[in-house]
Symmetry: C2
Amino acid sequence: MNESLLGALRRAVGESHVLTGDDCAPFLTDWRKVATGRAVAVVRPATTEQVRDVVRACVEHGAPIVPQGGNTGQVAGATPDQSGRAVVIQLGRMNRIRSIDTDNNTLVAEAGCVLQAVQEAARAAGRLFPLSLGAEGTCMIGGNLATNAGGTQVLRYGNARELTLGLEVVTAEGEVWNGLRALRKDNTGYDLRDLYIGSEGTLGIITAAALKLFPLPAGQRTAFAATASIEQAVALLARARSVLGAELTGFELMSSVALELVPRHFPDQRLPLPTAPWFVLLESSDAESELRARDRFDVLLSAALEAGEIDDAAIAESVAQSQAFWHLRESITLAVAAEGRCAKHDISIPTSRMADFVTTTDRVLQEQFPGVRSATFGHLGDGNLHYNILQPVRQQEAAFAAVQQNLSLLVHDRVRDHGGSISAEQGIGGLRTADLQRYEDPVKIALLRRIKQALDPRGLMNPGKVLPHQSVE
Amino acid sequence: MNESLLGALRRAVGESHVLTGDDCAPFLTDWRKVATGRAVAVVRPATTEQVRDVVRACVEHGAPIVPQGGNTGQVAGATPDQSGRAVVIQLGRMNRIRSIDTDNNTLVAEAGCVLQAVQEAARAAGRLFPLSLGAEGTCMIGGNLATNAGGTQVLRYGNARELTLGLEVVTAEGEVWNGLRALRKDNTGYDLRDLYIGSEGTLGIITAAALKLFPLPAGQRTAFAATASIEQAVALLARARSVLGAELTGFELMSSVALELVPRHFPDQRLPLPTAPWFVLLESSDAESELRARDRFDVLLSAALEAGEIDDAAIAESVAQSQAFWHLRESITLAVAAEGRCAKHDISIPTSRMADFVTTTDRVLQEQFPGVRSATFGHLGDGNLHYNILQPVRQQEAAFAAVQQNLSLLVHDRVRDHGGSISAEQGIGGLRTADLQRYEDPVKIALLRRIKQALDPRGLMNPGKVLPHQSVE
């Protein structure tokens, strides 16, 4: 059986692009190393037609299909299960920028383009592709779309979903849907595009996308600010929106615990300000000029200082310094990983209720799990925080592991009570399927199942992700 | 049978809100008067629970369901068919603004809120709800979402889809999905929200929505400009994007034929400029000040005059004058209707190919249908034009009607060849189902059918809209 499948896969993509045995290892464990699976093979197609042929071969042999991009996801959404029956389709060879249209402000990229390569292609054409996140040097645009990635520019430009005009998709049955239209408006039937975006490879495989481009800003300013409380940070956000309008392109919050892990684990990095309870990384991008960016930023920061919303601020005086500020922020994820065991929660809450959520949840956690450390950081401008709870200093990892599930239940229950989401930007993958079942409306879950059944009737597309495995009815 | 159904409907919403016989007439013909249907009853529920109960009654009796808002659609999407078996659910009594959260910049409105009432509620709270279109005094937000309405502010703020965070929906089987989350980020499973938005009442009934609010602009400027060609208008668009960035909030194109119909049929309105081949209505909205809006607008118009992109311009010097400019633009639809028979095409094309499309299609139409008049206008900033072709002066209506289908095929074939869409913002409804079948990828059509089957397995939700009636399998 496997031999017949392997033969078909080799005919589809060529012998050297069908990996088996130990060659598969790099593709069978997620980057956080929380899940390891097995596979018949890892296949690396180079064209849409090859993806189609691989899917058809899998369908014919009843083999589960696991699409994979840069393998940088947070929720093990691209890792096969333990059955050993799956075929991993790794899209890294589909890495062409097919076209750039600067008059229409669009670009067509294949799924295996590294995000940074898409950004660079846009920049080389004098345009901005604004999707930006820590993993941008490794993650691939196909994975960004499959997970509806967020990142640091969402408050101005939206998620991956809002940056996409059209898709090319190989369906679960091995057909090619050519929906690569580069149009701002297209109301011809149900919104297939947004259904595949964020479906985490469980409905089909995105092979290419028509993406929106924007003008490069004429001037940018970046500041690191210290603030006494999350209430003040939320007030600063409202002020920044009001003063900067659409020029506000970054608003990141960091707890002192989270930020101070960075110089501890990466001693070449240093903090631009003395310690404070919270820090905010602010960025503005002005369409008119560097001078105006400077002026408006100064107006904002002076008023915020006067109002007590911030206590101190460091403004980047060079591109290098601005990059250093962002590098601090982007290094938190790795610093947290280096520090020890961490209960991670990728939550969103209406901005109006965020301060109450963080303040009261921090307090309840201290009461019930004394000594835990709130390494919270994230995209306050989008109402999205990585509400990460680190094990107490000197506690055994096993002791923290024993309470971690209860701790997360407490956090997620409170998120629900605050009208929030338990997966703001990272998706469900293989890790959060139980959370989805627990926290989402049963009517919604039933609708998701119907969609899965409709678009993947054989249940071969990334099974067990988003929705738990289900016995065949 | 009908008596049993009517009894159930009366129990659901109360006797006085079940209209029958002649009382139904206003709801059985679309506003363009291109379609008239029949119905068992028109039901006017006041709450989500009543909508649910009405849907359940219809499901029990096998009665088709036609949701209707303000009945202002362009494609007869809310008109029942001739069978006389349908129940029209008119949502006008669900007209509460449920909540406004100015800190989170969100508002929850019921489906039957007139769009203008939503705009006014936002404004009363010091915020902008930017969806804006000619029918805003009559159309309802539920219909705007069901059709993913566009309008005049899309180039800055997006379609109805981009303005929506969460939905409440009564499903085709009479369940209530409460997805009214007011979150910027929520990656918990497939994107049900965007599936119901734009589904034209064929998958379920949107009963309420959580909508995005924006800051009110500090200053606005409006200008009417004359331009020699569509090439120059496209060049002006690129310049306006570059100079104004996110402050460009309106960019409407009008052919002289289209615009000059307005004073002909509405003599109280007059044009602000002498005649020219094309006119552009430009609007900027500045976050900082009236003064800056004025400065940047002057920079733009001076440079455009110098570059020959425009030949003349009138800048509104008061709010009243700005409203008069917009009123001219908004009156074109009614003026075209008053002028005679018109072949309407709601198309989008990549901006980079728009000039070529219009110039060559205008020429080919003159060759094949001498004397037709191109009353083209629309949202050039979105690549969306209402490419409307009026009958020749003094031709008999019947003579034009005889060639109208061939003319539209020619137009739509060329739209397809230019990478465009045959329904940019108005949807498919009952009028464009054959076009959808003709111009869309069969793979896409098959996927749409699967989604319809999955979410409306009985086929009772607005049957025959979007997808043509299908014999039961």
